[in-house]
């Protein structure tokens, strides 16, 4: 069907309708699988690996009293009987074949990640099209990191624009500059994460240096000076929830044209997902101090009164 772009395939782990927090208007978000960073606070752990992954929520399982379907279907023997009469998954033996997910009646087992074509994504996105027209909304690429599947992301953006869909992309910026610039050419809004300016801390908490991220932001700013950019920082307790850390970020972006800034308060919504993937969440116990967000916002406002701050 359609143009060559429409046939390009990639892996998404979710298409979420009716989002209002990621770009203008009422939007649909395509979540890309795979990310080059490993932020310790990540709230979408299912996005990190580039391939489909098995997830398991024992609370949904009906117990072996009612059902043994997964046990029967798993040939590598990755599923065992746990003390609570439910499956325990031996992740070392699991081949991620996902056969058990289809067998499970209760959706206690499911897969994160499905191969999808650009045409399929757009078909799902356009089902909500009537809401975009009124709200100025559209499609947002998120993740994971869309630029981890650059060909798919760029084809999707180009095709979306051909369909006159408003586009936004959320990126961590750690990608090939050329990819980012060609994606940006098809964007109405770029959402760009800056987490920590101190490079050694950045390495410590995300696993990569921020050099490429910072230079990419400058590059894309130069290449597409008209493109509105929303720079975002997740405020993580004990890591960057201090004035100094945030000041460094806003100082970096303050002079850039068409840039807005937003701080996102740390939340623990992602914690259960670590469990589903058989992982543990390192910083699950921390929380932001009361009033910290307000203090930081005031500080940013004082320091750079001209920098538009998203509330």
């Amino acid at each position: 069907m359609g143009t060559p772009n429409a046939r390009v395939k990639g892996i998404l782990f979710n298409i979420q309708q009716f989002s209002v927090h990621d770009g203008p208007g009422i939007r649909t978000i395509a979540f890309f699988k795979g990310c080059p960073l490993r932020c310790i606070w990540c709230s979408n752990p299912e996005s990190q690996s580039a391939t489909p992954e098995l997830a398991y929520n024992p609370e949904r399982c009906l117990t072996f009293d009612h059902c043994v379907r997964c046990l029967e279907i798993c040939t590598p023997g990755a599923i065992h009987k746990n003390d609570d009469n439910r499956p325990r998954i031996d992740r070392r033996l699991c081949t991620q074949c996902l056969l058990c997910t289809d067998a499970c009646p209760a959706k206690a087992l499911w897969g994160y990640g499905e191969t999808t074509s650009v045409a399929q994504v757009l078909e799902a996105v356009e089902r909500d099209g009537v809401f975009y027209a009124r709200s100025g909304g559209g499609l947002t690429l998120s993740g994971g990191e869309p630029m981890h599947q650059p060909a798919f992301a760029i084809a999707l953006l180009e095709e979306a624009r051909r369909h006159r869909i408003n586009t936004a992309m959320e990126t961590c910026g750690h990608c090939r500059t050329a990819d980012l610039v060609s994606a940006a050419a098809h964007l109405n809004t770029l959402i760009y994460d800056l987490k920590i300016m101190d490079d050694s801390l950045h390495r410590q908490y995300t696993g990569v240096s921020n050099a490429l991220i910072l230079s990419n932001l400058k590059q894309v700013r130069q290449a597409c000076p008209q493109l509105p950019v929303l720079v975002r920082t997740p405020i993580i307790p004990g890591i960057n929830d201090n004035a100094e850390a945030i000041a460094a970020i806003v100082d970096f972006i303050a002079g850039m044209p068409r840039v807005r800034y937003e701080m996102l308060a740390y939340h623990r919504m992602g914690t259960p997902k670590y469990g589903y993937l058989g992982r543990t969440y390192e910083i699950a116990e921390t929380a932001l101090a009361d009033g910290r967000m307000t203090q930081l916002k005031q500080m940013v406002h004082h320091r750079h009164p001209d920098l538009p701050l998203v509330q």
């Binding site: 309708q17 009716f18 009906l62 059902c67 009646p105 089902r127 809401f131």
Partner: protein
Amino acid sequence: MEPQTIDRCEVLSPQERRIQEDQLGRENAYLASRKRVSAILNSFQAMRPKIDIERALYFTRSMRETEGQPLILRWAKAMRRIAENITVYIDPHQLLAGRAGCPGRYGILYPELDGDFLGLAIEQLPKRVESPFNITDEDARLLIEEVAPYWKGKTFHEDLAVALPEETLRLTYHPENVLLSRYIVNETASFRSSLQWVHDFEKVVKRGFASIRDEARQRLEELDPFSPVNNMEKRPFLEAIIIDCEAIITWAHRHAELAAQMAAAESDPQRKAELEHIAEICRRVPEHPARNFQEAMQSQWFAQMWSRIEQKTGTVISNGRMDQYLYPFYKQDLDAGLIDEDQATEMLECMWVAMAQFIDLYISPNGSDFNEGYAHWEAVTIGGQTKDGRDATNDLTYLFLRSKQQFPLNYPDLCARIHARAPERYLWEVAETIKEGSGFPKLLNDEEIIPLHLAKGATFEEIYDYSGSGCAEVRMPNRDTYTSGCAYINFAAALEMALYNGRMKLYGDERIGLETGDPREFKTFDEFWNAYLTQQTNFLKHAFIQQHIIIRLRHRHFAFPLGSALHDLCMEHCLDLHTPQIPGGIDLGYFECIGYGTVIDSLSAIKRLVFEEKKLTMAQLIQAMEANFDGYEDVRHFLMNVPCYGNNTPYADEIGKAIDRAAVQFAHKYSRELGVHLDLRYVPFTSHVPFGRVVSATPNGRKAWSPLSDGSSASHGADNNGPTAILLSNFNTKNYDYRERAARLLNIKLSPKTVAGEEGTAKLVSFLRTFCDLKLWHIQFNIINRETLLAAQKDPEKYRGLIVRIAGYSAYFVDLSPELQDDLIRRTEHGTI
């Protein structure tokens, strides 16, 4: 589990915030600034309603004396008897005079409707779970000894029960006890005298009843004295109009006398002046045209209260386009410096608190099941378009919205019309009001309603001027002429009969529907679909048979002199509004589909799991359902995880469209024979709960006897793609090529966080615009945290003021039965905007 408290919610709606303040012992700032209405409010809030029997008593006594005369004349004479004898009241602090019964929250009785239930019901009323009532022993005795016996054998309900053919009866009532409904093809004509209705209130305030009476006198003089029709039909009609107009004037004058007496005895000079003013106004209206805002309000109030006394209109009489017909008075007083915004708001609030005290009492168990939480919907319509298709919003429109934003009452039911060119400010204020969280206003969509009614025969001028009426209906007060309640059809029961060869688990071996075969022998989904369709069509057949009888019987039991006096066509033809056919009228009836989502999801599950993926056999499915899924949790979960209605998925929506299509095609073919429009509607009131009580486990994993899906909303928990998906599923399942559709009621529940702040309002506005673009009929919102509902269920005392949206109306959460409370909690909350 942690205890549920309101504090745990991230963002609270303004309503939730007020409740929290109240719990902390802080004064409600708004109420503190409104001394008069707060005082009235405190006098009755949280009081258990009482029954006032005067109306029933005087009505019955008069009817006993007038037997043999034309019905409309008898009705008018009964109204005269009431006007002369009923106790009149003026409440302390009130600016509006007139109530239909004793002080406090009260209900009145209509024994002409349910005289055959009365004896039984009176004993049970104080005890029942849904909406209990108090009655004194002396009054109960009068009812049981004097009122009820007169009506025995004379009610419409009894007449209808004997007229129903056997097969129809079997689907309607218990064959052995016709007082018990079957909730399959349920008739609704016998628990009210009329469908929802709106009077031409503009006529009331602008002309007054003296002018209508004089018109009738004039017409009487012009009658051909030798014509049998003039003598036997027109004369009694016109005489009845004259009597009824004079009755309401008499009633108003009695209030004038009372006000004057109270003024004479009043020591507080301010109140004394108010009472003198009330006396003057009651001498003037509704007899004559109103001259200012307060007179217009009083005139309208008398007319609507009189209407309540005269007739049990379904969902109580609606108020029409108040921001339109009151505007000239408001503007004139404002310009003349006689009134300011605050005073006008106070007048409106005086009306709301008076309305809130009247309870629409249902005697029959059937009626109260349908209308839980003391339901009434005196819909006040605002916004929309003028008769010539221009935007109609004005300053008063905004005053209504503001009065609704902060006033902690579930009355009136505010109904905002929206259209493609509705001003941004209007939608913005509508959105802000919705965000308050108490369910107001509901929205009606001109872009669906206007073209649809043009196709049904209205003129532009008439339909541009429509009013919201009842929970989701509309009326053209001088063109609409249909008042017969119609069938509520349990589509989920049709499905059950397709599964059990014409039988239902609740009724054992009794064959109620048609024998469509044992589904375990079906080879294809089409075979099952055809069996289902046969049952559905059979239900429709009997619904239409019922309606045929109802249309022809009702006018022998009910007359409506007031409604007729205010209707151009009734006056022109000298015909009572309940006459089966009035020349020039448009008869807009509708039958109800109950359990739409339940049936779609069930058919989707059967299609997918039994016939496509073959994960289950029909025998396994039936076995699991017969066990109510006990020991078959795995089967149940498979069933629940198929594509469901409400997610904007073509798989389920196509099934929904086919169900809808079969029904509208049936209506297209057969309503013409009945001489009326009998169209498909999806508006459940609270009836999806009792209708669910007769349906055993269904193939969507729903457990036996639990509520069905409500209106055109998704099954509980089945919609997980957000509210855009529900709107689109509604759009997808409508058959726009047919005109045989009526209202679809759509409930959306959002968490307050979703619409927080200015940005949230902006997004809600664009959501409403899209609703308008999609040509959906109706939408309403609950913006509330789930935690709040759970907390209120646990600790009702602390949440007495919590208002929630149910069907077409808002009610106090704590007034609802536990079943309906659970149902509300289960409605999916969309927190993802």
